[in-house]
Symmetry: C2
Subunit: 639 residues, 2 copies
């Protein structure tokens, strides 16, 4: 318990949940790292696809970032509306459930869950890969580093979202300041130096032998650049983390994240052609990322450059935090609707949904272990989940506005038509982007998601059916049976006459007027007879004589044989004998149980009581109740 | 359960134990493989130490085997007597316990346990090493092969000693026939051809540049050769496996094993100088073992040679079986005296001591995994355990005969004096051998055993003290308390009014006239009030009205708050309230529990009932009994 206390802090009371809610200042680091850090790889992914074009790629790439920014703003408008219309958490899942039905909502939930799990593995391993390429002596420790960061993020988030927001605030805001300075300085120089400013450290030389630009190439580059948008939906999934007024803080956090991301993307789009920065081949030695080239070109490789790069590295590595905030809350919503085990909906020690976090960490750890910390091959997979979520959420909002339109007229109708239009366009554009991503990356691994999503949905539906069945069977609007309240026949399983057996027998005498003790011998021959004789003597002396003297009903001692060394078979035989002798009475089997009060006692005893209890329960006889009567080596009496 | 049935066969009844006992035919393969297979490495180990002497080593090596054979016969005489004097299993442990006291017996037990565990790891990996040197394409699979054979041996032995004896009979007797033929043929040729018979396949050329023979070298070679003797004590530890008359079958098995081993050793001692066979360096390519050279020299490398080598390989690999027979029985004796967990003394499904076998297999698997299947470095360790066992057992027998001597006079006294002499000489010689082994191999790893043995003894003694304490506290020769048999106050923990809650309440009404239902809310605000209102309505309708109508005591509904989401704290508070209100009554907390009847249901529920039960038991209040009232989704009524 002390370990849990040290790592996670004290258990929080329900009443404290208000004080643990966050505002926009903590919200941006807690939920926004995935989105904000994506300028590190979004533009680079687009440029990498255009690499065969050489220097001719720079302008198309820059122009390509414009529709991406446009799509981002469309998503922004859409999620702004979603947050207001469905402030109660859940994002795409809740919206789809309300407007498109259970199937579509499960599709959205599954897509997002897969997206979040992959985001943790990919985020951490991408960060560690960047760290290792900066400090090559760390190369043998890729996997331990990944798992260590995963452990750290898990602990930080188990302590509470508010804690994680405050811990991550420093690197997040440092990173933002650095890159705004770089972009502002670069832009100022670009304006003053005309078309091509002087680069302090020259970026890579671009080949001028250019291929022709094809539509398919541009579409693929667009789809690749779209990865910059993942994580934008996280705020809508994590609304319950905000303090009142929730919607206002949600809107502030979302606005800050999207505007910052859009400005950074626009800045990069402007400076790439200005400084003639292209993507380099990652597999070649001397590789430098686009952002590193840009920072070098603007600043040179001085102290500020290293601070900016360190902050970028930090933010990249910790971008998995978004999943830790959004995933457990998404799972809670799904679990509350009965599609996931109910444990996902239970608040843990620190009022977070611990099971969801641990499940997320477990899945990510498994992915990291299987891929030994190098998860490049997972990258194509995880944009699919995000875009499926985007599309469904916008589609659902479209339906939502259409439904609203039927109810109002006049100027408010016009506003809603506008909103409908925004969401409809958003749905179409994200659907197209999704289609491009799936087609372009199908062979690279997108097919895995195409299999995993239906399989997960199938599982969730089976779970739901199971819970419905449990509910149907347990729910009972019946009155208690008052006709028959006769005490049960009590059967006490004893091995010898000792204190645990005595306590069980005394409990039996308190709850019933018909107590039978059953001794099962596993011994043979003379040894067994001697043991039985001793027990009979004890029984007469310590049980029969005192009860007779007090004119109580005298418990009966039966002796049986455990021919196969398992105790439950002969006990069940006796139970069925009693049940047929006295068909109206219930039977309670009392098992004296020595309670192990220390962990190290577990392997030192045979757990006979536990095994017996399990076997008796397994027979599922509704007339039988199994009672373990606890006996303590070290009792702690209260009075 | 079907898997267990397939692998291990049906559960045996206690009454069948007689039919599962073995005679000498199964006893030799089951217990003797360790001893019999040791001619494969005992003489080789001695020759390897004498290797620097070159050809001059052959005669000393041959003569060195003579005192080893002498010592073997001494041990034979000693164990023959031990079996007769202590037929009830236990070997060195039982003899030392009876004659030297608890400390010496624990030393003997620990030494033997360590010896047996190491024997499994070393036996299997030596066999696999020989297999791999014969079939080099198996080299990448050393560890899986080792673990596979370990698994196989575990299963065979879990099925019963008699089964393992019958399975191993074929390779054992085939091996014996082959090597007796080789030695007989070799001896016949040696006699007819004079001093140096013609070798069919020439053994390695021995260098003639000879060092001087030193006493220390001879002593080390003697100590190394002594490894041929390990496993001789196994019969005395496994006596309970034999059918009646136990002593006779034990004597027969021991005699067969020792005489066969002595004859083989003598044959090898004769033929080594005759065919001029020396040890080769194992690390060099083209290495051939001494037995392989001998077989080649006598037979040539025809079909018979390969059959003999295959049988040798089989026997070497399966020599670990000796440990599987002796270790669990040794542990059972130690456990029955209260120095090991009682599970070691319980007969399992097939009437074998399964826990001991599984523990042995687990330890050996751990050693194989840690050393990745190459356990050469463990070899020096395991002779120490065996020789410590030999020494203690003979010492104990010496004390035994001295005690007997005090009681008799005349010719029987002379016989006992003779026996005393045999054991005393045996004790001295094995002690000297032990000292040589420890000194010679201290740095190579013997120090590990010198640390491990006292540590294990310490642990066993702590266990014993714990069990004594448990016995002291549980043993109670008191009469049941008949003054106070008032029914306990029943507290039913309910979440809502459903069938499990109803069943628990009905059980409460059957066992007590004072039933209180406690509902703990973990919800907040209006939602919580609505839930409580509903529960109160149900309570009035389904509980209060019917009980009042039937003039039964009306159960009371209390509603509390689980401020920290853990249920046990508010329940314990209520329990202590009741305990102080009614200081003479016991309290029983009834927890409705949905019994999971399928394994896949485990992760789908929250185990709230189990957690609550565990927490309530942890408070160790002797007046409190915790009763889980089972409720079944799929009841199987008997009538």
């Amino acid at each position: 318990m002390n370990v849990a206390h040290l790592l996670l802090g004290r258990r929080l009371a329900n009443a404290e949940s208000g004080a643990r809610k966050i505002g926009a200042f903590e919200g941006v680091p807690a939920m926004g790292l995935d989105a904000i850090s994506s300028i590190a790889y979004g533009p680079e992914a687009a440029l990498a696809i255009l690499m065969p074009l050489g220097a001719a790629a720079l302008l198309p790439a820059a122009w390509l970032l414009m529709p991406i920014i446009g799509l981002l703003l469309l998503l922004y408008a859409s999620y702004w509306q979603t947050i207001r219309a469905y402030p109660g958490n859940g994002g795409a899942y809740a919206v789809a459930r309300a407007n498109l039905g259970a199937h579509a909502s499960l599709l959205a939930a599954t897509a997002l869950m897969i997206d979040y799990i992959l985001n943790v593995a990919v985020g951490i391993s991408a960060g560690v890969a960047a760290l290792v390429s900066a400090l090559p002596m760390l190369h043998p420790y890729i996997l331990p580093l990944c798992l260590g960061i995963l452990f750290l993020l898990t602990i930080i988030n188990l302590r509470g979202t508010e804690f994680s927001g405050r811990v991550l605030a420093l690197p997040t805001y440092l990173y933002l300041v650095c890159f705004f300075v770089i972009i502002a300085l670069g832009a100022w120089r670009a304006i003053h130096a005309g078309a091509h400013p002087h680069a302090v450290v020259a970026p890579t030389q671009l080949k001028s032998t250019a291929q022709a630009v094809s539509i398919w190439l541009l579409l693929r580059a667009f789809a690749a650049g779209c990865t910059a948008m993942t994580g934008v939906e996280a705020v809508s999934n994590s609304m319950s983390a905000f303090r009142d007024p929730q919607v206002r803080y949600g809107h502030r956090t979302l606005s800050f994240i999207v505007i910052v991301l859009a400005l950074l993307l626009a800045g990069v789009a402007w400076l790439i052609p200005a400084y003639r920065i292209g993507a380099m081949d990652q597999t070649q030695s001397g590789y430098r990322s686009v952002l590193s080239q840009l920072a070098g070109a603007v600043l040179g490789q001085g102290a500020f450059y290293f601070v900016a790069m360190a902050a970028l590295l930090c933010v990249l590595t910790l971008s998995a935090n978004t999943s830790f905030v959004a995933f457990p809350r998404l799972c809670r919503n799904v679990a509350e609707d009965g599609y996931l085990p109910e444990g996902f909906a239970q608040a843990g020690r620190r009022l977070t949904y611990s099971l969801g976090m641990l499940f997320l960490a477990g899945c990510a750890a498994l992915l990291l272990l299987v891929f030994r910390g190098i998860t490049d091959r997972l990258i194509p997979l995880f944009a699919i989940g995000a875009f499926l979520g985007f599309t469904l959420s916008q589609l659902a909002m479209t339906v939502h506005w259409r439904r609203c339109l039927r109810q109002v007229r006049g100027s408010r109708a016009l506003l809603r038509k506008l909103r409908l239009g925004v969401n409809a366009i958003g749905a179409i554009v994200t659907a197209v982007a999704l289609a491009i991503i799936v087609v372009a990356k199908f062979i690279e691994g997108a097919w895995i998601v195409v299999i995993a999503i239906p399989a997960t949905i199938f599982l969730l539906q089976r779970l739901h059916r199971y819970y419905l069945e449990v509910e149907r069977r347990t729910a009972g609007f019946e009155a208690v049976d008052t006709r028959d309240t006769q005490s049960p026949v009590v059967l006490v399983a004893i091995e010898r006459w000792d204190k645990p057996a005595m306590k069980a027998l005394e409990f039996g005498l308190r709850i019933s007027d018909c107590v039978i003790a059953l001794h099962l011998s596993r011994l043979h021959g003379p040894e067994s007879e001697e043991h039985q004789e001793k027990l009979r003597r004890h029984w007469r002396e310590y049980v029969e004589d005192p009860t007779r003297a007090s004119e109580l009903p005298t418990p009966q001692l039966r002796i049986g044989e455990a021919r196969y060394r398992t105790l439950h078979e002969p006990i069940l035989r006796t139970v069925h004998e009693i049940e047929s002798e006295q068909p109206r009475r219930r039977v309670a089997v009392l098992i004296p149980q020595l309670v192990k009060q220390h962990w190290w006692q577990q392997p030192l005893h045979t757990h006979r009581a536990r095994t017996l209890r399990r076997h008796l329960l397994k027979c599922a006889d509704p007339r039988l109740t199994v009672v373990s009567v606890p006996w303590y080596l070290e009792p702690k009496p209260r009075h």
